[in-house]
């Protein structure tokens, strides 16, 4: 290539088309080819080429619902990563264990409610208490982790708190293992019945063991319905998880953008030293951040356990990593980004293996591969903004 040609190319770059940018960057080019290939495979499976398609629309709809429920739990955890990153520019790897703590403490609350009979007599109150206890205990654990593992290292180089975060994560897992044993525990079956006048519409599906219909069971119910020609199996808990997560995320967004304390958070995120000069109590803001992250993780933990019914000291690991992936995917430090990243990851993870006709053992490969792809094209994440190098 002669210098003149290079100059020509540079001149042409002014209205740089996406294509020419691709050609100049081999990594992006290869990624684009891979993505295109995957897209074609998915297309082949979706289109009814010879007879029926490999991948049916109602299968997609059902998996989409599973994915959204799973994704909203990822999103709740991802918000904790993003909040802490936004304020401290560090990654709180212990967050997965904070999530686990909420699920575990929620387990004790809900078992106690079951034993006292509260769960049977007033499931709404029992669930509310469970959720509250899960959220509060996660918040307490989050604050303790900040106090013990991060605050003493506030001004240390960036990689140091990263190591203590991993240490805190292992320590928490082991503490729960020693305290409560390694065996997996099962959340009790919960029935929360609403809308008793929906019974005629439910038909035989609404009947319980005794042949009685008490309404729609929001937690344990499963209903076969047909929506716009798609045969679906609806689990109200999926929508409950999704709606509750969405409500919590909106509450968080309002808190950060509409309250004074939220404004202080944003100020500290912008520039910690200047905020301190302006009279913001930085330590308090940081603790608030950890509390908020903990509350959301605890809610996620309880919802996750209600949905999957099993808790053990190890359940925080994989969801924690997935949520971190979600946070990076959406642009770490960015609240809508974390929400979007979580939902997106949950859906991709559930839908992609069957859409591409792959083993579902590969779903983690797809999830992390996706993270790499996004970082190749947008190192700052989907919603992330390019920050000045001063903060970066």
């Amino acid at each position: 290539m002669t210098p003149i040609q290079t100059q020509e190319m540079r001149a042409r770059r002014q209205p740089a088309s996406a294509l020419s940018r691709l050609i100049r960057n081999p990594v992006q080019l290869i990624s684009a080819i891979i993505l295109l290939g995957l897209f074609l495979v998915a297309l082949r499976n979706v289109l009814p080429l010879n007879g029926a398609a490999e991948y049916q629309p109602d299968q997609f709809a059902r998996q989409l619902i599973f994915g959204l429920a799973q994704g909203s739990i990822y999103a709740l955890i991802a918000l904790g990563y993003t909040l802490v990153y936004g304020i401290l520019s560090m990654i709180n790897f212990a967050h997965g264990e904070i999530f686990m703590a909420g699920a575990y403490m929620g387990f004790f609350a809900i078992t106690a409610a079951q034993e006292t009979g509260l769960l049977a007599s007033d499931p709404v109150l029992a669930l509310f208490i469970t959720l509250l206890i899960g959220m509060l205990s996660s918040a307490v654990v989050a604050v303790l982790v900040e106090r013990i593992a991060y605050r003493p290292l506030r001004n240390a180089p960036r990689l140091v708190p990263l190591i203590t975060a991993i240490g805190a994560s292992i320590a928490l897992q082991q503490i729960f293992l020693r305290l409560f044993g390694a065996s997996t525990r099962r959340y009790p079956d919960v029935g929360w019945f609403v809308l008793p006048n929906a019974c005629p519409a439910l038909g035989t599906q609404g009947l319980d063991d005794t042949g009685l219909c008490r309404g729609i069971d929001l937690i344990g119910g499963r209903y076969d319905v047909t929506v716009i020609g798609l045969e679906l199996r609806i689990l109200p808990i999926h929508f409950l998880v999704f709606a509750l997560s969405l409500a919590l995320m909106i509450a968080l967004w309002l808190y950060v953008h509409r309250t004074k304390s939220g404004k202080a958070m944003r100020a500290v995120a912008e520039d910690r030293n200047t905020a301190a000069l302006m009279g913001v109590n930085v330590d308090r803001v940081i603790v608030t951040t950890f509390i908020l992250g903990g509350l959301l993780a605890g809610a996620g933990g309880v919802l996750y356990a209600l949905y999957n019914q099993q808790v053990s000291p190890f359940i925080g690991f994989l969801p924690g990593i997935k949520a971190f992936t979600a946070a990076v995917l959406g642009g770490i430090g960015n609240i809508p980004g974390a929400m979007f990243g979580g939902l997106f990851l949950g859906v991709v993870e559930t839908v992609a293996p069957s859409m591409l006709g792959l083993s579902s053992q590969l779903k983690d490969v797809i999830a992390f591969g996706l993270l790499v792809m996004v970082l190749i094209f947008r190192p700052q994440g989907i919603f992330g903004e390019v920050l000045s190098s001063k903060r970066g």
Partner: protein
């Protein structure tokens, strides 16, 4: 690239490494530590230690190439036990094995060699049912010359990873529960098992699923298989599927899960498209319970659920709740005998509960064979120390004939197999596994016998 982006890359790499080290179950050969039989350090003041040192020194002169375990006079003979004593869903299996070995030692607390008596003790180590764990425990035992033989490891992944390490130091292991078929075909010299290979368990499972009801089976022709990615799960599904298709059945879907994952609804949704009559899962209780539980969410609540010895624990029933009802599991079973019922009542008396998992009798037999082997092959040296020639011990176990064990009459076939017990099929009824059928081979053909109520 900004510093922020670079940090994210570093973090992503760490995550990758963490995720794969947690999920990866591939056995890797690490440099093994050979047990030293040279005197280590200066003889100290205690007479016992100096006796041990001189004994080892003499041994070096006498048998340069043969490896031996040495127990000084008055010392303890140690049997190593490698099983998962913690971990999601695994612990009840490992604790059951540990109890079987403990009961064997309680009945036989010493070994007698040449007129001298040596106390036997059990050194239990947690191998976490993983390749990494099995390797770590094997390395530890191989470096401890008081350890004479090993009961375990518990899981096939750990067995496969540990075997090369034990091979290198000429140890003998008898696993009560490693069932993966290929373990006895890989040329491991240290590996033996007091349990039936999956090459047989898988066949009985396939026959049970396929045969019509009047021949003792389920009469199912459409099966979906899932395994957990372990050598045990993968191997068992392969054996079962092979036999099942040979019989004329159809494997409509087969897939695998990642251990540690908790949401299998997407996978089950795919499987549901193929409308299987039965889901066959080879793996362990925690994952089995999730799959059994979530199959209803994907519209598979009418599909039968069947697993193997890995899930035949009370833990599976507790975790899966109502969805465990009616689930089947196969396991190698001990022949009914007075000795077995005496052992079971002893077990109940000692631990206050029914065995939570199926391998207690296998562990009991494994321990006893090791003790027999020590008594038969060990010798005393001049100052009364017990010397166990590991090579002789190994040959003894590989040549066991007509050993009357709790699990049946054990005969070594020379490649590590000891057991030819029958396979029992159990079903979850009233919150417990109940044995409903027994599969055995009579004159080369498989016979299924229904248990009369």
């Amino acid at each position: 690239m900004t510093r922020q982006a670079r940090l994210l890359w570093v973090a992503a790499v760490i995550i990758f490494a963490a995720a794969f080290s947690a999920c990866g179950q591939q056995p890797q050969i690490v440099p093994t530590i050979r047990p030293t039989i040279t005197p280590t350090g200066i003889p100290t003041a205690t007479p016992e230690a100096s006796a041990e040192a001189t004994a080892s020194a003499r041994l070096v002169g006498r048998t340069l190439l043969r490896q031996a375990s040495v127990v000084s006079q008055g010392g303890e003979v140690v049997i190593g036990l490698s099983a998962a004593l913690s971990g999601e869903g695994f612990a009840p299996l490992g604790i059951d094995i540990q109890r079987g070995a403990q009961l064997a030692l309680a009945a036989r607390p010493t070994v007698r060699v040449g007129g001298a008596e040596f106390v036997v003790s059990l050194d239990s180590q947690d191998d976490q049912c993983s390749a990494d764990g099995g390797q770590a425990v094997a390395t530890r035992f191989a470096a401890d010359e008081r350890v004479v033989g090993i009961v375990g490891p518990m899981c096939s992944s750990a067995c496969r990873a540990a075997a090369p390490i034990f091979d290198a130091s000429d140890y003998t292991t008898i696993s009560p529960s490693c069932t993966a078929a290929d373990l006895s075909m890989s040329g491991f010299t240290s590996f033996n098992r007091a349990v039936v290979s999956d090459a047989f368990q898988g066949v009985i499972a396939a026959e049970f699923i396929f045969r019509p009801a009047d021949q003792g089976g389920l009469g199912v022709t459409r099966v979906a298989t899932i395994h957990d990615g372990s050598p045990y799960g993968d191997g068992l599904v392969r054996v079962m599927s092979e036999r099942f298709t040979a019989l004329g059945g159809q494997i409509v879907a087969s897939d695998a899960i990642t251990v540690g994952d908790t949401d299998f609804r997407g996978l089950l949704e795919d499987i549901a498209q193929e409308e299987p009559e039965l889901i066959y899962f080879a793996g362990f209780p925690a994952d089995a319970a999730r799959i059994a539980d979530q199959r209803g969410d994907a519209g598979l609540e009418d599909a039968l659920f069947m697993g193997a010895d890995g899930i035949r624990t009370q833990e599976f029933i507790d975790l899966a709740g109502d969805s465990a009802v009616g689930a089947y599991a196969s396991t190698s079973i001990a022949a009914d005998s007075n000795a077995l019922s005496a052992f079971l009542s002893l077990y109940l008396g000692a631990y206050g509960e029914e065995p939570p998992a199926p391998f207690h009798a296998n562990a009991y037999d494994a321990t006893n064979i090791l003790l027999d082997a020590i008594e038969a092959t060990a010798s005393l040296d001049l100052d009364g120390s017990l010397v166990v020639d590991r090579d002789a011990l190994r040959m003894y176990v590989r040549n066991v004939t007509d050993y009357p064990g709790l699990t049946g009459v054990l005969n070594a076939n020379g490649s590590g197999e000891l057991s030819v017990a029958d396979i029992g099929i159990s079903q979850v009824r009233d919150n417990a596994f109940v044995e409903i059928a027994i599969g055995s081979v009579v004159d080369g053909s498989v016979v299924l016998l229904l248990n009369e109520e």
